[in-house]
Symmetry: C2
Subunit: 255 residues, 2 copies
Amino acid sequence: MNSDAKTQRRYRELAEQLQGDIAAGRYEVGERLPPERDLAEAFSVSRPTIREALIMLEILGLVQVRVGSGIHVVSRTPTLSAQGAGLADDVGPFELLQARQLIESEVAAFAANRTTKSDIARMREALDMERRDVAAGDTDHRSDEMFHLLIAEATQNTVLHETVRSLWQRRHRSAMWLQLHRRIAEQEYRRQWLDDHQAVLAALRARNPEAAYDAMWSHLQRVRETLLAISDVDDPHFDGFLFTSATIKTAVPGG
Amino acid sequence: MNSDAKTQRRYRELAEQLQGDIAAGRYEVGERLPPERDLAEAFSVSRPTIREALIMLEILGLVQVRVGSGIHVVSRTPTLSAQGAGLADDVGPFELLQARQLIESEVAAFAANRTTKSDIARMREALDMERRDVAAGDTDHRSDEMFHLLIAEATQNTVLHETVRSLWQRRHRSAMWLQLHRRIAEQEYRRQWLDDHQAVLAALRARNPEAAYDAMWSHLQRVRETLLAISDVDDPHFDGFLFTSATIKTAVPGG
DNA sequence: ATTCGAAAATTGGTCAGTCCAATTTCAATG
DNA sequence: CATTGAAATTGGACTGACCAATTTTCGAAT
């Protein structure tokens, strides 16, 4: 039946094909793929082989397989990184925040030089949504994430974008984060954060890298302090971080 | 046969179990896992199920499956990130370098504040190795990567470490990178890069964040210019990058 | 007509057995 | 001792079947 071809690793072919279909919008997020049996017939392979391909898509975070229900498309692009595979990656919130502060501040500054009008427009929308969420007492923080990711996208650099997205993805895998989030929702901190976000957006609109850097740095500093105040944790990555991380800020090298 | 339990997603259990065994050293890197048939019997599951678990391990970069040969342990810890799954991630070298310059410079500065003696010692070793490699006309650039990763490790922040490692991992997946690398090896650029690395190490030893930032920035700037000179590519991420990326560098916010 | 619940259909989860293909092993051969 | 080729090993894939979770259908009760 299958003699020539690459022989080895059939499931990868199928997975790539399906991934391509999803990326191309052949299957929208929220929709379902055809049943395994149909897919098997469509690709002229057996069900076990299709299953293997689906497992890959699942690990990549593209689909979610549910018995009796079907294969649901969850994302249009691979979301992966080890967390998606269900690995233990419960890094302390402070350690993660430390990394985010370092990277996202730079990203914000860089974005100030490269953002487009349409980027700005989308960020504005995200802030509107966040404003509504805060008013509604939303606990999801989806709009928060959206805003930060849009900034990274505004760098026009896919590597930076994916890097920041990867950082945010970790967040949702941490048990401690989820716990803290629930507690934060009840507070009024989010209003302050919304103000922070607006300050960042203002700096981006003004195309002012320094202001964008400062605004983002201050914002994440505030987030960090908020979490510290709320939690009683004794994080090893807290000591020596508070004021030491304010690294560089010298004259421009390069050139 | 399998009535109770979590029912759903059997392969994940098995994969985690096997991953645990590998992580624990039950199977060393280079060794092989038992044949699929044996594993199936050992875990009291069918071969297709074991296969599914192995596919997960393969995607995670832990094992490599070879027909007729067996299941070879490739790594002790998940190496993943989308690239490991064999996805197309052939981002332009310049775009990647842009991201690296932005992030690794900050990381170097941060590392200057937190590096330990043993970190310094390991970096020194890496540079010694690099010196030998350059002299030997090595084309692998393994010591180069090692040095950069050690810097990220010196931040004592695993998120930053993994982020930088993730960036370097992309590098090896890009066709253009490999092509460029071969050409670079023949040149003498690497001697210059070695000098750059030594400058970075000196700044770290002196625990001088600004100097570390500048040294790393200059180094990656040089790498970028080198690649530009060698390649005739017309990368969209080159325009507007050369001097605009020198972002922030203002007074310390935070506090 | 609407609502509710049980039966039927759908769909993924897993198994057992079989055959094929690539690789390795190892003994016979020169 | 090197080479070769057959046999054993091992993964690749298929078929057909049955189970379990979910969804859909449709008739009965209101």
